[in-house]
């Protein structure tokens, strides 16, 4: 199916052919953990984030947001706001040249074509939807003016629950219907396989709305220079420049987006945030404008992680071998599409986890509601389903009286196996190794700390994609230049979330070209001045831009090598680039030239020392009708393990120990890899146990940061990390992506540990003390699970429950 499976030695710059160009180990720079440029600036406090720029004559922006979840706008009165001294502009939908944010269709069957307005014109569909924007001389005046914009509404019925939105007669969020997209993946006859199975386990699992809660709120400044509208913002995607140009009705060459180093993103800065509003205010006032969203505004109106309802039915033989699985996934997209079609696709593609499922039937659906839109968030659909498939494995083990590790090992995928989509796995699957290592890292099982306490141990394995969906035909470019003094310039359109995206590229270039890290200058995140790298999302940048930089560095080295060989009187393939020098391999210190001498010699011989290279991911196609085809380039596998203690009186779950192990292929910077795993595990613990962006009839309940409980330093134990380097990833030097994968395992791992402790499986997130008490109560009263609606026992009026 894939278009570019090259033959060995084929020099086409695509996909797996790069293995032939790899510098062989051992490596000098790759695999070490140096403190990079950005890291030093951060620890000194001298890095300038998006909110830290000021420009002469700068105005301050504020968005006026709708206050109702579903209403017709019958009038907007901006006169009092306009009359306020210091106000430079008050804009509404009528002032937007092309009032729509167009998302590229994802290719789902019967996918609804719905575009999101930049500013709502006649209808609001969620609380917090932008209706007008203001720019003024100070932030105080802008805030006051925003309060003076008066919006008249005629309230309309809304729908706030994904299942209710699918019911006949449900209020329509958009006239075209509430079912945004449905995906099917099908292999064999799952229903028949389950009907014949010796054992069948079923389960329904539910997850919640979740907030990204990056510490840096959405922010940026914009200005006009030489007729070019420039935005310097906190964004994962500078390619939104094209969308902004469409909104303003100006050529794409006249919009430039610069991504500042971000104070966290996690997918929440993958869609546009402040960009279109800043752009409009700059365009209308012809002055610089700054916009920072309040934390409370961000909580209410920024995108969230999709709550999922996941129904699993798994058939297996008595020895624990899975024979068939049916999965239905329903995701609440909120009021607009954003990236929901793709999130639900990833969910379907990953719904069976790291297990061989010969017959599978998977359906995933995204529906509109009048909730705040859900979109990208670390894990992107592939993380929610881990609770589903891992719960099924533990239930299967329990039913058959087999160990959890054994049941998993019976079913783990291996290289060459087919996924339910019919595509083969092309790299090794070391998930069993990660499972044993994670358990080993945990040590001896704990004993309860006192009466009324139960302890348990859990595991959670996963398969998480890295790289974009194959049919987007991904590519990334990078430009390198060896300067006359022997230092190196790198230009890449990569945006840096704080995970070391730019730093990793420096390490890869340093490895190939022998330039000391301190001598590398890297310029990133500029849509006008950098070769495009695609956004930083989908755990794609090490894979894509890492390969682009590796390829560019190898090609540049190959071009300069004959010059160096000539100067040194040796052959080009005997050269070693290291420590700022080129020398004959093995001739330590003798017969060498500096990179500066090489650069100057190349210049004299008209050999260019600058090089632009584009790396293309493998291509392929997916047929949404048959549910067969190519999905993602490759996967990262891992296992987490945890010990918990449950207080049976309060329902409180205390995480005692936590270990996480992933096969990262190759760790370019082991300290950063550990940091990614530890950070993702902590976010996952919040998702599992404390975080709930509850939305009540369309109104976000946690509208203060004080009410939204992300983990603090006291909540959870250290995360012990195991790194496995199989060397078989599709990233540079055999690396796999690690940005998103480690968040997936956590909720399943904690649920597994709780089940081990109390003998009953939590199925709904977050696993709050109230929910755990309810499980304990059901176990005591009926010896099993409570009713699936998960409603807490309601007190009877005037009496005891």
């Amino acid at each position: 199916m894939r278009g570019t499976r090259g033959l060995p030695g084929h020099r086409e710059h695509e996909g797996r052919q790069l293995t032939e160009q790899r510098p062989a180990g051992p490596y000098r720079v790759v695999g070490t953990s140096p403190a990079h440029h950005d890291f030093v600036e951060k620890v000194k406090g001298s890095l300038h984030y998006a909110a830290d720029w000021q420009l002469p004559g700068m105005l301050y922006g504020r968005i006026v947001r709708g206050q109702l979840p579903s209403a017709r706008i019958t009038g907007i009165d901006t006169s009092r706001a306009r009359a306020l001294p210091g106000v430079a502009a008050v804009l509404t939908a009528a002032d937007v040249p092309s009032n729509q944010i167009v998302e590229m269709a994802s290719g789902g069957l019967a996918e609804l074509e719905v575009t999101m307005p930049v500013l709502a014109a006649d209808r609001v569909r969620y609380v917090g939807e932008p209706v007008a924007i203001v720019a003024a001389a100070t932030q105080q005046i802008a805030d006051e003016a925003a309060d003076l914009v008066s919006i008249d509404y005629e309230e309309l019925p809304g729908v706030f629950d994904a299942e209710a939105a699918r019911a006949a007669g449900a209020p329509l969020v958009h006239d075209v219907g509430n079912t945004l997209v449905t995906w099917h993946i099908q292999s064999g006859d799952a229903a028949a396989a389950i009907a014949r199975a010796e054992v069948v386990v079923t389960g329904e699992y539910r997850s919640q709305h979740v907030e990204h809660a990056y510490l840096e709120p959405e922010a940026g400044v914009g200005w006009l220079e030489n007729g070019v509208l420039t935005l310097r913002v906190s964004t994962q995607v500078i390619e939104h420049a094209a969308t902004i140009a469409r909104i303003l009705g100006v050529p794409q060459s006249k919009v430039r987006v610069i991504a500042a180093y971000m104070g966290g993103g996690f997918g929440g800065k993958e869609d546009m945030t402040v960009e279109p509003y800043l752009a409009l205010l700059v365009w209308h006032t012809r002055r610089p404008v700054r916009m920072i969203w309040d934390r409370q505004e961000s909580l209410v109106a920024s995108t969230k992680r999709h709550p999922f309802i996941m129904r699993y039915r798994t058939g297996a033989s008595r020895d624990g071998t899975i024979t068939g699985q049916q999965v239905e996934i329903l995701g609440d997209a909120g009021a607009y599409p954003n990236l929901s079609p793709r999130v639900l696709f990833a969910a379907a593609a990953c719904a069976c986890g790291p297990y061989r499922v010969p017959s599978a039937s998977i359906t995933s659906t995204a529906v509109f509601t009048n909730n705040v839109p859900a979109s990208a968030f670390r894990g992107f659909g592939a993380m929610q389903v881990v609770l589903g498939y891992e719960s099924q494995m533990d239930l299967l083990a329990e039913r058959l009286g087999l160990s959890r590790t054994l049941v998993r090992e019976r079913n783990f995928l291996a290289k060459g196996d087919l996924l339910p989509t019919g595509e083969p796995l092309e790299t090794c699957v070391e998930v069993a190794q990660t499972m044993h290592r994670a358990l080993e890292l945990l040590g001896e099982p704990p004993v309860p700390s006192g009466p009324g306490k139960l302890t348990g141990r859990g595991i959670g394995c996963n398969r998480h994609p890295y790289g974009r969906t194959i049919w987007f035909r991904d590519r990334a470019s990078a430009w390198l230049s060896l300067q006359p003094d022997g230092t190196l310039l790198i230009r890449s359109g990569v945006t840096d979330l704080g995970a070391g995206q730019a730093a990793s590229l420096c390490q890869i270039a340093a490895e190939v070209l022998g330039v000391p890290l301190a001598d590398i200058g890297i310029h990133i995140g500029d849509s006008a001045l950098n070769p495009p790298a695609g956004g930083t999302f989908a755990t794609r940048q090490l894979y894509m831009s890492g390969n682009a930089v590796l390829q560019a560095a190898v090609e540049l080295r190959d071009r300069m090598s004959p010059v160096a060989a000539d100067l040194l009187g040796t052959e080009a393939d005997e050269l070693e680039f290291a420590d700022g020098q080129v020398r004959r391999a093995g001739s330590q210190g003798r017969a060498s030239i500096t990179l500066a001498e090489l650069a100057v010699a190349c210049e004299r011989r008209a050999v260019s020392t600058a090089h632009l290279s584009t790396w293309r991911a493998e291509a392929g196609a997916f047929d949404p009708r048959t549910g067969q085809g190519d999905t993602f380039p490759d996967y990262t596998y891992g296992t987490h393990a945890a010990d918990v203690e449950v207080d049976t009186e309060t329902g409180q779950v205390t995480v005692l120990r936590y270990a996480a192990c992933h096969d990262v292929g190759r760790a370019i910077n082991p300290m950063r890899v550990e940091g990614q795993i530890q950070g993702a595990a902590m976010q996952g613990l919040g998702y599992a146990l404390t975080e709930d962006m509850a939305i009540d009839d369309g109104y976000v309940q946690a509208s203060l940061f004080a009410n939204y409980l992300i983990p603090n330093s006291y909540d959870f134990p250290d995360v012990v990390v195991g790194i496995i380097e199989s060397g078989e990833g599709k990233g540079p030097l055999g690396a796999r992506g690690i940005g998103e994968p480690p968040i997936g395992n956590v909720a399943a791992t904690i649920a597994s540990a709780i089940q081990d402790a109390i003998g009953i499986r939590p199925t709904r997130l977050p696993m709050t003390p109230e929910r755990i008490l309810r499980l304990l109560d059901a176990r005591a009263r009926i010896g099993g699970y409570p009713a699936p609606d998960d409603a807490l026992p309601q007190p009877t009026p005037g009496g005891n429950p």
Partner: protein, 169 residues
């Protein structure tokens, strides 16, 4: 808007050892004046509720949320921001060096508040236990690192200071 709310008062803020004369509204927070008025990018808005600790500064040597402190409350109380810990040529404080060695930052947005809070703890407690460090940092949220490496860095610095104290006594 009434005219009172637009009255600006001249105040002198002592920041990192230097006096700055600024004009502040009665409603201006110290955060707004430090970040926007004095251009101190190491004092950052994170939530405006005093919950996240991102805007932490030392006021009279004690960590406070500058988003909950009015600028007019600050004259006469020396202010230290993260940058104030460094030498004249940006020589890093040993605690900052521990953060570098231990990889205790990712996006770096919360780093100034965490370093200042941790420094205050070590100054007060000498050689705090890991649990004490965890407890002291409750008011400084980090969404990237998972805290483990931050705790490692603070512990390393506290051990260093503790050893120095022992060798002096």
């Amino acid at each position: 808007m009434n005219s009172n709310s637009m009255t600006r008062y001249p105040i002198v803020l002592t920041v990192n050892g230097q006096d700055h004369e600024v004009w502040a509204l009665a409603s201006d927070t110290l955060l707004e004046v430090l970040h926007d008025g004095l251009g101190l990018a190491d004092v950052r808005y994170g939530c405006g509720e005093g919950v996240c600790g991102t805007c932490t500064i030392l006021l009279d040597g004690e960590p406070v949320s500058s988003c909950l402190t009015l600028a007019l409350q600050a004259p006469g109380h020396p202010i230290t921001t993260l940058r104030g810990l460094m030498g004249p040529a940006e020589e890093m404080h040993p605690l900052q060096e521990s953060f570098l060695r231990r990889g205790a930052a990712q996006c770096g947005f919360c780093t100034p508040g965490i370093v200042l809070t941790a420094l205050d703890l070590v100054r007060r407690r000498g050689r705090p236990s890991r649990a004490e460090i965890r407890y002291a940092l409750i008011g400084n949220l980090c969404r990237c690192t998972g805290y483990t490496k931050i705790l490692d860095a603070v512990e390393e610095y506290a051990d260093l200071v503790g050893r120095e104290d022992e060798s002096e006594s």
